[in-house]
């Protein structure tokens, strides 16, 4: 792959070593990238993926007739398949390229970061997964609004869903554009338009069935490719972690010495990749960020929606178990891949270039896994990994769009506007119109945010999901005393406070809005600790003080909800195929 030198801020290795948080705080793929020469192998592989998924979409279209087919694939996905699809939804290109790059730059810190993304799954399993399946039909609002007044709670859930989806979507679109520029050598806007167009085709014609299969195929390709890379790295060291680590430390020490450090400093810098570094700055940020990741997972609308695609609570449980296994395995692989990149990429001059006197990866720091693919598997495997990375974004974007469309058509149009009386055909029509609208908006925002620092967006999506969706959903399932008023006020408090505190935090106030360093009014990395507390307090306070007639109905409805959530009696069945 030949680099084309374009002007732009270059994120060199030394910048990464002293300022890890820029990459670490990013769930999104960011950092400046340089456009590469057109890579025909990668484009060919991606073309194959597109042809295959379009055939699947055609098949899925024949099975997508009702609104239930469109939202939940008719409930006919098995637990194992759904587990893979959830993993496919969750393992974004950002986590693959971003975490392996973070491990290459900072070693152990990359592991701390990835663990945060994993630990929410058990919580979701223990307290919510099966109950979600028993209570809901199409969206998480079905569950959150189960015994409450429909209009206000549905509106809250739909707004919160759309906000989360919007931030997540922008991050993915910008990531797609950067990645394609990087991997395929296409123009940024072309990449964004391709992603938008393909995603609309999948969702419009194939609904949840096509989206699920795109996610399953992508998850298999990504897990297969990453396994191969990790295997090649480990086999070079006789499958000894100690030898891999020892070589990595030696290389990092040499690099530090080459930068002019004394022997002692260089040795310390080399060994530092084996322990915690700057990722955890202060305990409050660490706990707050951990909470956003942990509870955000249990509040992401596109993930929650996946629980309605399986036929029963048993399959819902199996889904999370498989998802947890695949995602955990994947993060172990990215750790090995990151160390492999230290050994095989940082030492190979053909992957490096000098920029302003500092050596760095050709194409930017996020290229670690991509260059490693080239190093261990040659040009064809490089093309494969590039195509997988693109496919990854496509699958995530399709899932997000479907969940945004269902919030508009099922929660707003069907439940609020038509009071549950719209027929399946018109509800389906509204979701398709919304899909087109969301696709166009995503492309426009993707292009508009090209030059923006969007590092905060995925973290913000997680923070909102943890602060607005999670408390409402969690308490509506487990606390009898919750009322409509408490749900709506507490939910909005969580939503608004998480957005406002993020804007006032360093990642937006300083990095995006350009205010001087240290001037951010809210000093912590993530708002979740504060905004989640506020949401829980708000729900509690405005529920216990609620003496309205509606509050009595809300509480009286708890028993019916509890029995259904525990036993599944009355739960919506999978539609027959």
């Amino acid at each position: 792959m030949r680099p084309t030198m374009t002007p732009g801020r270059f994120l060199g290795m030394s910048t990464l070593l002293v300022a890890p948080s820029a990459v670490m705080a990013a769930g999104a793929l960011e950092g400046e990238v340089t456009k590469q020469a057109t890579n025909w192998t990668a484009i060919g592989m991606f073309g194959l993926f597109v042809v295959l998924t379009l055939f699947i979409t055609k098949w899925a279209a024949g099975r997508t007739k009702s609104a239930a087919d469109f939202y939940t694939a008719g409930g006919g996905i098995s637990g194992f398949q759904n587990g893979l699809a959830i993993a496919g939804d969750y393992m974004s290109a950002a986590s693959f390229l971003g975490i392996s790059a973070a491990v290459m730059a900072n070693g152990f810190d990359g592991l701390i970061y990835s663990i945060g993304f994993l630990v929410g799954w058990p919580i979701l399993t223990f307290l919510m997964a099966e109950k979600l399946r028993n209570l809901g039909k199409f969206t998480f609002a079905d569950v959150a609004a189960f015994r409450f007044e429909q209009t206000p709670v549905r509106l809250f859930a739909a707004i919160s869903t759309l906000v989360v989806v919007a931030f997540y979507l922008i991050a993915q679109m910008v990531g797609a554009g950067q990645l394609i520029k990087l991997l395929f050598g296409l123009e940024y806007w072309m990449a964004v338009v391709i992603v938008g167009a393909l995603m609309m085709v999948y969702v419009l014609f194939g609904g949840m069935t096509a989206t699920t299969w795109v996610q399953i195929i992508k998850a298999c390709l990504l897990l297969g490719g990453a396994s191969f890379m990790a295997f090649m790295v480990m086999s070079a060291f006789g499958f000894s972690f100690e030898r891999l680590f020892a070589e990595s430390v030696r290389i990092k020490t040499d690099l530090a010495a080459a930068e002019g450090k004394t022997a002692e400093e260089a040795a310390a810098a080399g060994q530092s990749i084996m322990g915690p570094g700057n990722f955890v700055k202060d305990p409050i940020s660490a706990i707050s960020f951990g909470m956003a990741l942990m509870f955000g997972t249990a509040g992401l609308p596109h993930i929650l929606m996946r629980f309605f695609t399986v036929p029963s609570a048993k399959e819902a449980r199996k889904s999370v178990m498989w998802a947890t296994i695949w995602i955990g395995y994947f993060y172990m692989l990215t750790f090995i891949i990151g160390f492999g990149a230290i050994v095989f990429v940082l030492t190979n001059p053909s992957f490096l270039e000098m920029k302003d006197g500092v050596p760095g990866l050709i194409g930017g720091s996020n290229m670690a896994a991509v260059h490693l693919a080239n190093a261990v598997g040659g040009n064809v495997f490089l093309g494969f990994i590039s195509a997988v990375a693109f496919a990854t974004i496509l699958a995530v974007v399709a899932g997000l769009t479907l969940s945004g469309a269902s919030a508009v058509s099922h929660d707003i149009y069907q439940s609020v506007v038509k009071k549950g009386r719209a027929d399946s055909a018109s509800e389906l029509r509204v979701s398709k119109i919304t899909t087109i609208a969301l696709g166009i908006v995503a492309v426009i925002l993707g292009i508009a945010f090209e030059k923006q620092n969007i590092a905060f967006m995925v973290s913000l999506a997680f923070a909102i999901a943890a602060s607005a969706n999670f408390p409402v959903l969690f308490l509506s399932i487990l606390w009898k005393g919750m009322t409509t008023r408490g749900a709506v006020i507490g939910g909005f408090l969580g939503l608004i406070s998480s957005v406002v505190l993020t804007v006032l935090s360093p990642s937006v106030w300083e990095a995006t809005l350009g205010n001087p360093k240290g001037s951010a009014p809210f000093p912590y990395t993530s708002p979740a600790l504060f905004s989640m507390t506020l949401a829980f307090l708000g729900i509690w306070l405005f529920s216990v003080t609620d003496k309205s007639r509606r509050a009595a109905i809300d509480k009286a409805g708890y028993l019916a909800q509890e029995v259904r959530s525990e036993t599944g009696i009355g739960a919506s069945e999978a539609s027959a195929h």
Binding site: F108, P122, F126, G328, V563
Partner: protein, 102 residues
């Protein structure tokens, strides 16, 4: 669901057993997960040197088995819950359903 059936289910000892067992076990594992994860984060936040300590004479530190251990723990607790739910809780659920529909 009719109110009479609802009350019958709520009064069924099988149902009460199912509900309290699942609730207790779910919370127990949740708390275990919270302790493990936030314990991990707290160690890093308050004593970075602890996990940076080497095991034996090599470069590998205690952070590596601990970090991988947290990942494995996450997978194992999830599997434990799912296995118990898929056998014990589902049997109880079946019994509740049979009673209710009698």
């Amino acid at each position: 669901m009719q109110d009479s059936m609802l009350e019958r289910i709520a009064a069924d000892p099988n149902y009460q057993e199912l509900r309290s067992k699942r609730l207790r076990f779910g919370w127990l594992l949740t708390i275990a997960m919270l302790v493990v994860y936030y314990g991990f984060i707290a160690i890093i936040a308050f004593d970075k040197a602890l996990l940076a300590k080497r095991i034996g004479s090599g470069v590998t530190t205690w952070g590596i088995p601990v970090g991988f251990g947290v990942i494995l723990f996450t997978i194992v607790v999830t599997a434990i819950y799912v296995m118990r739910a898929n056998s014990e809780y589902d049997d109880l659920t079946e019994r509740v359903k049979r009673e209710a529909l009698k």
